[in-house]
Symmetry: C2
Subunit: 882 residues, 2 copies
């Protein structure tokens, strides 16, 4: 098509034109092409959307004409005519961007109805009530989406009528009342907008297209794009499609389904339908729909046809599909297909089974699973032995267990979540306006909606536990209470949910480690075959090390030693060491610490026998181990008041020492190797403890032990040279004393910009580099993470000053450039230099991609992210040219 | 010479062989070559010294033989013979490195004396007492330097004899007593070392050479090298020279002189001498010597010969010389010559006058003045109108005024100085062991010594004020008191000194700005002709700006706006702004601040009319303007005790706000453009204040104003893009409102590593870059300067972990590499980008050299360092290839 063609018929497009037609439009075209029963229609392209914004939110020139022209083809295809009082064509108008943004933009149904065509519809359908109800819905949707009249204003009028006629449900309202309601709606429109409801279908269409294009820049769409890193200039397409009706009677219906179970991955159709309903009734969660399998009984022909369509779609797209369908007077229409969102468990099982079915190959299977999503599988689950009270059971909409304070609004959930509180968002149902609250919540609990309602879809997408449609909950938003039977919860009260089973618990529940299935192991073994990067774990304890091995880590990339100093029985000894008045006292304290540290190292090294273990010598400033200054001040003031001279003098002396050690910017102060250089006896003790542990495991237990000693915060090669000497001397001493020979490496963190800039010099003294990208990011940006995340980073992300949180996703242009320099300079000095990353980025797929690209040897991350990293490493290896 | 020749006769060397022969040896050879009366001798080369250390502090192979061989030539030249009982050759053994290290290493005189040769010396000199005194001195020096017996042990024995014979001065002790003393000395040697004093002159010589070579690595030499950045592997040469005696009677003497006055630069001989004395008596400051001019009366022939020798040396070396001479029985010997140390004033005058005399050209004159030394000229002087009490007057040994607490030991001075106290080191005399105390003191005051004593030389070298030989002072080191007439000072009491006049004041004195002479202006005008770098000043007030212009700055490179916020009358308004409960309150406070800021800007811009003024928008975190948290805590606790509810609630609320704004690492927290982005109204107010000031000066006063607005702490181009918009909008508004057109620039600091790494992106939005090397150094090293300098940097420098303090001297390998990257990336985007530096390094000559080399446009420094920078910029331009 040419630049000037702004509108394309479904019949003229295909799945490849996704960028131009949006995902929905491309799939409608593709389905049309392969012969599926799709109501005819057309797509206004994303080019039109971009022009719309370029021209100041005006419909681009020529669009109206092209629209009219293509619409006339649709009229021919359907045999109906737009605005025809006898046989009116009605259409839906829906947005559809290249990237799926479910529920984020606007949709209008039943467009084309007016005071005349509604009569024609009634006559054709032989159902006046149906036609009036369509008109009523259309005015309401159009009024809300296009004319910006609050939804609630229409709902109020509807509710008045319900009350007036004593109806409990909308479908109990009769034609005459609906006709009155339509007049009330029209008055509302006139009153709110100053003009009458537009009767001309062409005018309706152009207004609707304008509104849908404008919805690309509505608040919630912007937020959604920010969260999902979708570019703002992509634009949306608009699909205009002939309406079919699922609400024309008992031989009608509508439904949504997945071609496989999106929770478990099982290869059976999974979904829900409603008889005599329009699509929005299913998605909005207002009526609780029936499981799809029941359709086999209710409409066996349609069921068979639907199954065939699903098979065709899967074999065509080679992917699990999420389908919307409508049955109009016994005839099946497919309204939409797209790749189905799924849980991690389902993603893994579907990928594996599709390989077994011959639909895709192993590499494609690896590509199919989002590494980030695997974290779901590793979520803790509710302990089956728990004796917590189950207060209610809802639908298990998104797996995993979560606990937190009850929050009744998205704003409140956001506020508490940002303040570091754990929150469960409790709502009757959620809407796209609640996204910001769901982001900050641990989990979501709703009293209404099915497995495919908004809350369920969004929570699954984010990997957060959700329980929906839990009808036992009585939520009173006005008074801020949640009543479940006898129990009453207010904001701040604790509850728990189990998204795997749908249970809701009182208070906090015990959770247990998840069990990983065989499919999971199979997928990751394929991943390891493809990956070039090795995956290590950060682990400080034997238990962590064991978890790391279980998740498939082939080394420890960062074993921090400071946590060993923090243990309750050791802290007093550590404090004695720090506050020692002289060399002897200090050495005495160190002598006490040595066997403790040695024991720690024995445990970890034994757990990792055969694999490298990188142990970082002490990193935090020593004052972190001392009592809090403010607390000491308080004690001093209190002792002054009490007049206890002896205690006062002692506390005062301690306070003075603590004050002397305070720092203006501890992050950049006396820590890391600076401590090891000023007080070499500390590093010496640690090195001895490591090597004594090694000598014991090698000598007495005959294990293969691969210790690597890592010096933190090196910025100048002389720092490494000096501390390295201490380590080497300790190793020689231990070897001489024990008579056990062992090999070891000495290396350094690259976490200070200067280390990266002078990596050629530093590599002279380092056998390995490990990028500490947490600190490297802090110093490269000049961001103190503690301060930035609370004070300005959120604003930066919201306002797109930064494209992403650099502490979550490696900043390639800045920090990444330093890493590349360090790598090139380091390898120039020492070609066999081993280089890895041990910052949190080591578990982030986008960062892992970068690590692969620049040529790192390994990434190291928390044990629970090891599977994520293994898969991400495989994906980047698959997609990179060899 | 070949690698194997370790010893060279004076007659075989020249001034060019400085590295091999050391400064002293090369000059002795050169003087011998040009026919000056130099006692014959030989030099053991620095190669021998390096071998000495390579071979574990053993005299290198072949040295002894070569020494004996060359010594036999000296024997022939002198007609005396080493160890000959009748006509013994005596020699001095002195160290002499390529770089002058005055007094840092050891010297031994009169070597060759023993029980036999002392008789020959007595006979030849016809003076038994003289010979015995020489022997006594030799044993003492040898015993101290070679055998490491404390000097005091010998002095005790000497003092006993003085008391025993009732002598006040050593020269009153007669021969017989000296003979006894010699026996006492020998016993002391036997007792302390277990062996007898060595009688064999060859053995004496080898032992002395060993000791002098070893003295290269003594404590004070190591400290001196660290302070003066002298490489450790340079090594020292050793000069062995025939002794001549200034202490053979009234027709003998010894002296030191400068060929021009080292304080003022006046072209007259300047120095001191003593009749009947050895050189050490002058330098040690034990006897107070006579001014050199008196020699014209006392020894007219020698005076004439000395003047001729000085003229020859100056015309030969084309440099002011520092000479040691001895007169033996009426015959003049020149013992040493070297470039004379001088004050800045003298350096400037000498350089200028040597150009006028045709000795050197202008460029050479520019090279001759140490830019760092110019700071002396800019030192504040004692206000002539002061009414402070002058308690004593000593010799004006090093110019400038200083005040501080009395400290009686170098250790104490160091301790207090490091703690940030101002200290005057008060000593009877100083020795090389006191260096560390002088480094930390504001000034030095001694009761003994002349203008060339240790304290004077060292203080002048460091540019610190010093008053020496102030005999009115009674210093009691044991009791820690300084008595001057009626007054008594103890450690910690305040005194002041004026090193320009020699006055000592009670308490603190008023000081005034220095006046700069015509020579100074002439030299700097030559400098400006040569320099490529422009020199701007950092100035925050109109007074600073005027000083900057006076010192020749051609722009303001950094005008900080935060100090304007700190003024006493503004701080409450600033606090209102920060603590504002809502937008309106905040805007009201900003509206009050705007006219104040505008007034500041008018003053500075007017003072700099015609020159660029770079104004930096607010940089510090806002909490810096709030009350101290600890103080508030205290108030709260006190109000709690007092039970004052209303006041307590108010204070508590303030405390809560202050606490909420606290940061873990404020240096990397919510400051700089981060404040301007979160609170754009602040930057907007500042921009409006700047542009309203500009509009007024341009519109009403018709001045040429060149404002440049600088955004601090930018790390990502989006930060600059966003803040730039605010500035540009303010400029447009002001132009529209006032109808005055003006031009301006917007640029940024490059002070965050990421800014340097992404300078190509940032340059899109910046018309200039200014390197903020203080912060850039902090973040590149990960050093919080506040913490580093107090906690570990001193240790790093002492132990050579770092070669220099990176906050004083730009770190080329790390920070410098980032600067180079930023420059290349920035100019690639915007070839006409103006680039400068405004960190403290902008006034450091070594850093200025680097700035020139990488192609900066300007450096900006404090007004007082502008002359330093102008000269340094000229020097690097002269020495760089064009």
């Amino acid at each position: 098509m040419t630049e000037k063609e702004l509108v394309l018929l479904f019949a003229d497009g295909d799945a490849g034109a996704r960028e131009l037609l949006g995902g929905k439009g491309a799939n409608l075209a593709e389905m049309t092409r392969i012969g599926l029963p799709v109501p005819p229609g057309l797509t206004i392209t994303t080019i039109a959307c971009r022009r719309f914004y370029e021209e100041g939110r005006r419909l681009p020139e020529g669009l109206a004409e092209q629209l009219a022209e293509k619409l006339s083809v649709v009229e021919k295809q359907t045999g109906k005519s737009f605005g025809d009082a006898q046989n009116p064509l009605l259409v839906s108008v829906r947005s559809g961007a290249a990237v799926s943004m479910p529920g984020m933009m606007d949709t209008i149904l039943n467009l084309g109805l007016n005071d005349e065509t509604v009569q024609g519809l009634a006559a054709n359908a032989n159902d006046e009530r149906f036609a009036l109800d369509c008109f009523r819905r259309f005015i309401q949707m159009f009024g809300n989406v296009v004319l910006k009249i609050p939804h609630a204003r229409f709902e109020e009028l509807l509710a008045q009528k319900r009350v007036a006629v004593g109806a409990q449900y909308d479908y109990e309202i009769k034609s005459a009342t609906l006709a009155e309601l339509i007049e009330d709606y029209k008055k509302l429109v006139l009153q709110e907008t100053g003009v009458s409801f537009p009767q001309d279908p062409h005018e309706q269409l152009l207004m609707a297209v304008h509104a849908v294009l404008a919805s690309w820049q509505n608040e919630r769409a912007i937020v959604y794009r920010r969260i999902h890193h979708i570019p703002d200039d992509l634009g949306t397409a608009v699909n205009v499609q002939a309406m079919v009706f699922g609400n024309l009677g008992a031989d009608c219906g509508t439904g949504v389904l997945f071609t496989r179970n999106p929770n478990t991955g099982e290869a059976v159709l999974y979904g829900e339908y409603l008889i005599n309903a329009q699509g929005e009734d299913v998605v909005a969660g207002i009526r609780t729909p029936k499981p799809i399998a029941q359709l086999a009984m209710e409409m066996p022909d349609v069921w068979a046809e639907l199954q065939a369509a699903c098979r065709l779609l899967e074999s065509h797209y080679k992917e699990m599909q999420d389908i919307e369908f409508t049955v109009e007077k016994g005839r099946l229409y497919i309204l939409q297909t797209r790749s189905g969102k799924r849980t991690a468990q389902a993603a893994v099982r579907i990928a594996i089974e599709m390989v077994d079915e011959g639909l895709i190959d192993r590499r494609e299977a690896l590509r199919r699973v989002d590494p980030e999503q695997l974290v779901q599988l590793l979520h803790r689950q509710v302990d089956p032995q728990t004796d917590s009270d189950v207060v209610a059971v809802g639908l298990p909409a998104s797996p995993g267990a979560a606990s937190g304070q009850v929050a009744f609004s998205a704003d409140e959930a956001e506020r508490l979540g940002e303040a570091g509180e754990k929150v469960i968002l409790v709502r009757p149902e959620t809407t796209p306006d609640d996204i910001h609250g769901i982001v900050q919540a641990q989990g979501v609990l709703t009293s209404r909606g099915g497995m495919t309602c908004h809350a369920a879809i969004v929570a699954r997408g984010m990997g957060k536990p959700a329980v929906v449609g839990c009808e036992a909950l009585e939520i009173d938003l006005v008074n801020g209470t949640l009543r479940v039977g006898e129990r009453l919860y207010r904001q701040g009260d604790l509850i728990s949910i189990d998204g795997t089973t749908g249970r809701v618990f009182d208070g906090l529940v015990e959770t247990i480690e998840p069990k990983l299935g065989a499919e999971f192991a199979r997928l990751l073994s394929w991943a390891d075959e493809e990956a070039r990067l090795e995956v290590y774990a950060n682990a400080d304890t034997p238990a962590d090390a064991e978890a790391a091995r279980r998740f498939g880590a082939v080394g420890i990339g960062l074993c921090r030693t400071e946590h060993m100093f923090m243990a309750q029985d050791r802290l007093p000894v550590v404090q004695d060491m720090i506050l020692a008045a002289n060399e002897e006292e200090r050495q005495a304290a160190l002598d006490k610490l040595l066997p403790m540290q040695q024991g720690d190292f024995e445990g970890i090294l034994r757990a990792m026998a055969g694999y490298p273990v990188i142990i970082r010598l002490l990193d935090p400033p020593l004052h972190e181990f001392l009592p809090d200054e403010m607390e000491l001040h308080k004690s001093v003031w209190e002792l002054e008041k009490a007049g206890d001279r002896t205690a006062l003098a002692e506390k005062q002396a301690l306070l003075t020492k603590v004050q002397r050690m305070q720092e203006a910017n501890p992050m950049m102060g006396h820590r890391g190797c600076r401590v090891g250089i000023i007080s070499p006896e500390i590093y010496e003790m640690q090195a001895r403890a490591i090597f004594q542990a090694v000598a014991k495991l090698v000598g007495e237990e005959g294990l293969t032990i691969k210790p690597e000693v890592m010096i933190p915060l090196v910025g100048h090669y002389r720092e490494l040279e000096a501390t390295r000497q201490v380590v080497v001397r300790a190793a020689k001493d231990v070897q001489a004393q024990t008579g056990v020979k062992f090999s070891y490496k000495v290396g350094t963190m690259i976490e200070v910009p200067r280390a990266a800039l002078t990596a050629d010099e530093i590599a002279t003294y380092a056998e390995f580099f490990s990028f500490g990208t947490n600190d490297l990011t802090q110093m490269t940006f000049g961001f103190s993470r503690d301060d930035a995340e609370g004070k300005f980073l959120t604003h930066y992300l919201m306002n797109k000053i930064l494209p992403a949180n650099p502490f979550a996703e490696l900043d390639r242009n800045g920090v990444g450039k330093l890493m590349q320099m360090a790598l090139e300079l380091g390898r120039a000095t020492r070609p066999d230099l081993s280089i890895g990353i041990c910052g949190e980025h080591g578990g982030d797929p986008s960062s892992i991609q970068f690590c692969h690209e620049i040529g790192l040897d390994y990434v190291s991350c928390s044990p629970f992210r090891v599977p994520v990293a293994r898969l991400a490493a495989a994906q980047v290896a698959i997609s990179s040219p060899r």
